[in-house]
């Protein structure tokens, strides 16, 4: 899950990472008051979980409380890449001497944490990496051995920092690493990492991704996740053990297993159709899941046909069939439904379906043709 800038900075502060003084506000009046409390000037920054807010006009400098209030009026409610701005962060402006980039990330191929540093901060780091790769220093960090001095020496010397800056960077990196591991982040990105006139390193921005698998030991994030997602189809699906992502097409898909669900969408497209969603009912055989899946899909008015693609392994095809029959009793669906059952107890499943007016298919390719035809 993503953390907004403000929450990320609160975490950083907990680990001793210096961040600018700042407060979150949800209306211009609050912004006015905060600016007076902080002392002028300030920066007013849109809190949205997406990059590129600067270019979109979501970050504004303000010399005084009146300007800050005006900036907040412009930013709050703004749409940035489809997300509405509901909060702003008001921060005391800082005396920027240099801007750097610092990132920590789970590196899949290396099976390590990788730290990335560049003196070219405040810009899109991919572009720096593409044009001047020598300006992006990457070093692997062991989770147990940690942010050892030699690692920061590499970052500093290989990018030409002076000795004093190197010391400041070392302290910052250690604290950031502690936050990364302590909060089970999968990504922590500080861009720009700012060196003040005083020499101190300060996190001027923060991007955090937290490992969803570790939420059981970080319960504080669970409420954040809930607040951000509650009420969405994705969230409702998750509560029932389903995995759902809405798309633009007109063929609803219900599949067991993420890989097969993705492959099903691909094959729908290949057959000339357009998938309306990704929906993985998972590995278990609980008919209630099928009922919930039909409920969620049933709400999407764009859908013209529904495809069930079930390969029974641990999932039993007869359970899915039972769930579907039960669902059709509860949720009135007038759309054509194509169902393909294969694997464990497929025969029993087909017998149950045979008593309904659903369209059955033997193979996956046959199912695709039928559902695209039904939707057309």
């Amino acid at each position: 899950m993503k953390l907004d800038e403000h929450y990320g900075k609160r975490l950083l502060a907990k680990y001793g990472v210096p961040v600018p003084d700042g407060w979150v506000a949800t209306n211009p009046q609050e912004v006015h008051d905060i600016t007076e409390r902080l002392g002028q000037p300030v920066v007013v920054k849109a809190q949205v979980l997406v990059g590129g807010r600067g270019k979109a006009g979501g970050v504004k400098m303000a010399k005084n409380a009146a300007e800050a209030e005006q900036a907040a009026t412009e930013i709050l409610g703004m749409d940035i890449k489809g997300l509405k701005v509901e909060k702003v962060l008001v921060e005391k402006a800082i005396d920027i001497k240099d801007e750097y980039y610092l990132g920590l990330i789970h590196d899949r191929a290396a099976k390590k944490i990788t730290v990335i540093f560049s003196t070219e901060g405040g810009v899109e780091i991919e572009q720096v990496a593409a044009k001047t790769p020598e300006k992006v220093i990457k070093v692997q960090v062991g989770i147990h051995s940690g942010m050892r001095p030699f690692i920061v020496r590499r970052l500093a010397y290989e990018s030409g920092l002076d000795g004093e800056a190197g010391k400041g960077l070392a302290k910052f990196c250690s604290s950031l690493f502690a936050a990364f591991v302590g909060e089970d982040a999968t990504l922590a990105e500080i861009n720009p990492l700012v060196r003040l006139g005083s020499g101190e390193f300060v996190a001027a921005d923060s991007k955090f991704l937290i490992d969803d698998n570790a939420l059981f030991r970080n319960p504080k994030f669970a409420t954040v996740a809930e607040a951000a997602e509650k009420g969405t189809d994705e969230w409702e699906a998750k509560q029932s053990g389903l995995s759902y992502v809405g798309l633009d097409g007109d063929i609803g898909c219900v599949v067991n297993g993420a890989g097969l669900a993705m492959a099903t969408m691909d094959m729908v497209k290949r057959a000339g159709g357009a998938p309306a969603n990704f929906l993985d009912i998972g590995g278990s055989s609980n008919p209630a899941k099928v009922v919930k899946a039909m409920e969620i899909i049933g709400r999407n008015k764009k859908i013209k046909a529904i495809l069930f693609n079930i390969f029974g392994g641990i999932t039993r095809c007869d359970d899915v069939a039972k769930g579907l029959v039960e669902a059709l009793g509860k949720v009135k669906v007038k759309l054509p439904i194509v169902i393909r059952l294969s694997g464990t107890n497929a025969k029993e499943g087909r017998e149950i379906i045979g008593k309904t007016n659903l369209i059955t298919a033997e193979t996956i390719d046959e199912a695709m043709q039928q559902v695209v035809k039904a939707a057309g």
Partner: protein
Amino acid sequence: MAIFTTKDTKVLVQGITGRDGAFHTKGMMEYGTKVVAGVTPGKGGQEVAGVPVFDTVAQAASKTGADTSVIFVPAAFCMDAMMESCNAGIKLIVCITEGVPANDMLRVISYVKRNELRIIGPNCPGMISTPGVKLGILPGNIGKPGKVGVISRSGTLTYEVVDALTREGMGQSSCIGVGGDTFIGTNFIDCLEAFQADEETDSVVLIGEIGGSDEEMAAEYVKREMKKPVVAFVSGRTAPKGVRMGHAGAIISGSSGTAESKIEALEAAGIPVAESPSQIPGMLKEKLQ
């Protein structure tokens, strides 16, 4: 028998007294697997499906000679379970459990010294070597003995492919689901190396999906080292790109990760990429001629 296992593989099940552990212990035994012990702390002395339960892996291994562990314990305890098996001298761990924190896997990988122990998973369906050794939850009834090796990041998609192969008369040597998490113990290249060396395998099907760069690296490996025919399938061509947050991922993985990148890399390495699982047996037959 094919990769990572032998007909003498002796299995203990960590979390055997749980619902899933008990259920799949029976499934593994029905397939012919020698499940010799179970481990659940505090339940030593019990039995599950006739298999004796021990409090610790060390006790189980020393009393029964188990050399392989299949793990069904809850995600929060998987790190400890894997370290325990490593410490007790287990040679192969298959961790079925879903939801293991990435940092825990980093800790496990750091704990395990290279060459001492192989881990498959976590968050994987396990593996089958036909006939007789099933480690995990892959359904045992859709495959048949033969010479095709199957490697996959996905569960049900694997069944789909195995089913397609079996229908066309192409049996399998080993089928292995490596798991989809960020940090996994055994990746595509490890499996390809093993299949390359395995005398009972004559060809390989590789089932990839979007994310990471395992497919790209596997393509490179195949081009450089692999003498046996390989056919691939990649799911996720139509998957939404998602709202990406942060840029570090792009820096360490470059342009890899998309279905397009993977398919391009595989085809450039001479690996045909099927558009439907049903095409795979035909493509493989063509390559084998």
